[in-house]
């Protein structure tokens, strides 16, 4: 979980929609956090349909990615944090993304918590393991 960015997939009326996002994960991997302005498409999509997916990977845009890169797909439910919880959580978020201070602290910026149901880890191109949370 040392990666900075991940791809968030939301959906609207059956149409998937993906966005590149800064994210943080809690130590126990049960929650992932992303920030977004409330005026974005992804924000409106995830508030109307909370089931989302996030792709985290370590690709380096070289041929070797095919055998070297590791990708994790997370699925879970997204929910916006209320203001007081957001305040409490901010230091942790900023410890990973200090340069996003202005962005995340803006009143129009929502901090989204994604409660992960499961992770799918892909290594060696096609080897897949599942990690189910809370079952």
């Amino acid at each position: 979980m040392t990666q900075n960015l991940a791809v968030l997939a939301t959906q609207h009326q059956g149409q998937p929609y993906s966005s590149l996002m800064a994210f943080v994960a809690t130590e126990d991997l049960k929650d992932l956090y992303v920030g977004t302005s409330r005026s974005t498409r992804k924000y409106s999509y995830l508030t109307s349909e909370s089931r989302v997916s996030l792709l985290i990977d370590n690709r380096s845009n070289r041929d070797a990615d095919l055998h070297e890169a590791v990708a994790v797909t997370a699925i879970g439910n997204a929910q916006e944090m209320v203001e007081s919880d957001k305040e409490q959580f901010l230091p942790y978020y900023l410890s990973k993304h200090p340069h996003l201070q202005d962005f995340i602290k803006a009143p129009s910026c929502a901090l989204i918590r994604i409660a992960v149901k499961a992770y799918y880890l892909v290594i060696r191109f096609q080897q897949v393991m599942e990690l189910h949370i809370g079952s």
Partner: protein, 731 residues
């Protein structure tokens, strides 16, 4: 960086660009040794080729299918075969081709040459790649040289080379290969000299043959041997060979020929020449500072050095390593031919004789004491054949490999396993066995009444036709559940067998199960690719490979039959111990039975817990990677088979998941919708039998029997080599 360097141009700074062999030759040339005209193709050419064609990543993808340490030798051979085929089917890009062609044409034009590997890092005593990579003698014409350069590049990825680099800790991903192209010197006498005999450091040792060195290096021609005292440069001993043959150049390549009679009584070297070669080797040792293994040849009285490299010391520890032993499986065609003769004419009849002799004995007539010695005797017989199995039958399986390589080199098919189609449809015992099973099932499909009687255990009321087949089956193949993978119990009734036949009968016959391709036309097509002498060689190789392929199965079954006889004697002992009628059982018999029943190979029938549950997490496998070993996609409930009882539970349409498909397990194959095997390889039994039945198969799935449980829904993709566990629906 230049693509080619002449020996004059090679200096210390280019050592890593031309590889060990090329560098050593340049040092020799600078120091006035007589060496043939040589051009070094640098690692830059290799680098450009694998980069521009995308081969670099294809190779790494192939090698990273699983952890190298988890790969069996057969999987490494498979990976190596596939990589070799990538080189064979990937042309050198046009601009690179033009550059290389121009240099080659300027130096060699249409002269015959040797194309040799010169790999990077091999010029040190710790890492000598002697014999691991390929050389090609008597190659003619620029295009043919380029073709062979690709083969030399490919040999960087041979199974032997992969294992060796792994062992000495070189990064496989960073490997590069230089190549040297050398004018051929048609020596009339050739050989090798070790400047220090590894077995006796105070001496030098020379091996020499008439004709080309290839005969000696490939082990085809027995050499004369001299031991020479280093200090006094005095010949200590000369061991003449049975001089019978020599290797000569022919139009393309080389050929083994009978040695002319006038040369048979003549040693390849005079005493003076022996000393001259010693001087050469000692000078080379001086020059490089470590003992050298020098390849030389004499033409018209002139001594020439073909190559000089540090001597590889083979430690005792390495000899124990099984992977190393497998490398010794690279056998020559001649060697395999004589092995075939011995197996067909002596070993197989010998096994059959032993089984007949043991089966004819009435164990119940023996006293307890006699039974003890009979159990021991049978153990001895079983052990002896097991040793022969490892030492002679398994090396013979190399016949298939030899043919595979030959086929791919000449035909260059897209699918590196196309050659297997020419080997199929041989009358393997297991196919014959499955045919008998199918005939029994066919009777039951038409007669519900017979089926009912069988279900209710009324075996004797099912009619002669069925009973005859059943008898025929048991006489020929014995009790199915008895000799399966290390299981020491035998069932006394044919219940298990009948259960399988009933299961088969409750479903229509497997479509295409016994369909074979038109073998005759495949063979015809193959044979017409060659002409004259090459055609004869091609057909001989095919014949050898077909025998080798067939025996792979037969030997396993025959070995199991021998062990079944040992188990029968053990069971007689057990029976006596259990029914001792109040007498104390014979103590020695009790001991012998206990020892004989212990089998460390028996796999624990309890699968390991595969879902790790801790602190609110549950980890489980979703998709496992293996090798595609039988094309097709299958979906079904998994049946993990660890022992004979699991086999008897096998239901129609299940996916067989096992450690290794033993030939004695194949009777459930017609019921299976797919096969998943932990053991890897394209030519292992499971893969062979799956292809024969047209059943999708994935092999080499690490921990397959631990990660998959009986009853799991699995989908296997035999095209890609992927096994998916569970339904595709998300939780």
């Amino acid at each position: 960086m230049k693509l080619f360097l002449t020996l004059d141009e090679v200096s210390e700074q280019y050592r890593l660009k031309v590889g060990g062999k090329g560098y050593a030759l340049s040092v020799l040339a600078r120091n006035n040794f007589n060496v043939p005209l040589t051009l070094c193709l640098t690692t830059e050419a290799y680098r450009q080729y694998v980069s521009a064609t995308g081969l670099r990543e294809r190779i790494l993808l192939e090698l990273n299918r699983k952890d190298f340490n988890d790969m069996r030798w057969e999987e490494i051979w498979d990976a190596s075969l596939r990589i070799r085929n990538m080189f064979l089917t990937t042309d050198v890009p046009k601009h690179l081709r033009l550059n290389i062609r121009n240099s080659l044409a300027a130096y060699f034009d249409d002269k015959p040459v040797v194309v040799r590997s010169s790999s990077v890092g091999e010029d040190s005593a710790q890492a000598s790649f002697a014999g691991l990579h390929e050389s090609f003698v008597n190659v003619r014409g620029v295009d043919s040289i380029l073709d062979h350069v690709r083969l030399v590049w490919a040999s960087l990825w041979s199974d032997a080379a992969l294992l060796y680099r792994q062992e000495i800790g070189l990064d496989v991903g960073k490997s590069l290969m230089g190549v040297i192209v050398q004018e051929i010197v048609e020596g009339d006498r050739s050989g090798v000299i070790f400047s220090t005999d590894p077995n006796n450091p105070s001496q030098l040792v020379i091996e020499a043959v008439h004709g080309l060195n290839q005969g000696l290096v490939d082990g085809l021609v027995e050499p004369d041997r001299w031991q020479i005292d280093r200090a006094g440069k005095r010949i200590v001993s000369h061991t003449p060979a049975q001089r019978e043959s020599l290797v000569v150049s022919i139009d393309v390549g080389t050929r083994l020929e009978s040695l002319p009679s006038e040369l048979r009584d003549r040693a390849p070297l005079s005493d003076d020449e022996v000393i001259e070669i010693c001087d050469l080797a000692l000078m080379s040792e001086d020059l490089f500072g470590v003992p050298q293994d020098v390849e030389w040849t004499i033409r018209g009285g002139h001594l020439m050095v073909l190559q000089s490299r540090p001597i590889t010391m083979i430690g005792e520890a390495q000899k124990e390593d099984k992977k190393r032993w497998y490398l010794s499986l690279r056998r020559s065609y001649e060697n395999l031919q004589s092995l075939r003769k011995r197996i067909e004419e002596e070993l197989i009849p010998g096994m059959e004789r032993d089984v007949r002799q043991m089966a004819a004995q009435d164990l119940s007539l023996l006293s307890d004491r006699e039974l003890v010695s009979e159990i021991r005797r049978r153990k001895g017989i079983s052990d002896r054949w097991t040793t022969i199995y490892w030492e002679e039958y398994i090396p013979f399986a190399h016949g298939v490999r030899l043919f595979g390589q030959f086929y791919n080199d000449t035909v260059r098919p897209e699918d590196p396993y196309e050659f297997v189609r020419l080997l199929g449809a041989t009358e393997m015992e297991s196919v014959e066995r499955n045919r008998l099973l199918e005939s029994m099932a066919a009777i039951l499909r038409e007669r519900d009444d017979l089926r009912d009687r069988l279900i209710h255990g009324r075996y004797l009321e099912v009619g002669d036709k069925f009973l005859n087949l059943l008898d025929q089956f048991i006489v020929k193949f014995g009790d199915l559940s008895c000799p399966t993978t290390g299981v020491v119990q035998c069932n006394q009734t044919p219940e298990g067998l009948i259960r399988i036949v009933l299961e088969m009968a409750s479903h229509p016959p497997t479509p295409g199960a016994f369909a074979t391709e038109d073998l005759a036309s495949l063979i015809d097509k193959y044979s017409h690719r060659f002409e004259g002498e090459r055609q004869l060689l091609a057909m001989d190789l095919l014949d050898l490979a077909r025998t080798s392929y067939r025996l792979r199965d037969d030997d396993n079954i025959k070995l199991a039959r021998i062990d079944a006889q040992r188990i029968m004697a053990l069971n007689e002992g057990k029976r006596r111990i259990e029914n001792h009628d109040g007498r104390l059982p014979d103590a020695e018999l009790v001991g012998e039975v206990a020892v004989g029943s212990y089998d460390p190979e028996v796999i624990s029938p309890v699968p390991l817990p595969l879902e790790e549950v801790r602190a609110g997490y549950r980890i489980k496998p979703r998709q496992l990677r293996g090798q595609p070993a039988g094309p097709g996609v299958a979906k079904g409930s998994a049946r993990v088979v660890m022992g004979s009882s699991d086999l008897l539970e096998f239901k129609h349409g299940e996916v067989l998941v096992c450690d290794a498909v033993d030939p004695n397990m194949t009777f459930v194959v017609p019921l299976a919708s797919g096969i998943v095997e932990r053991r890897g390889g394209m030519l292992i039994h499971g893969a062979i039998i799956a292809r024969e039945y047209g059943i999708p198969c994935v092999t080499g799935v690490t921990d397959a029997t631990k990660l998959i449980r009986s009853g799991d829904l699995i989908t296997l993709d035999g095209f890609l080599g992927i096994v998916t566990i569970g339904s595709p629906k998300l939780p």
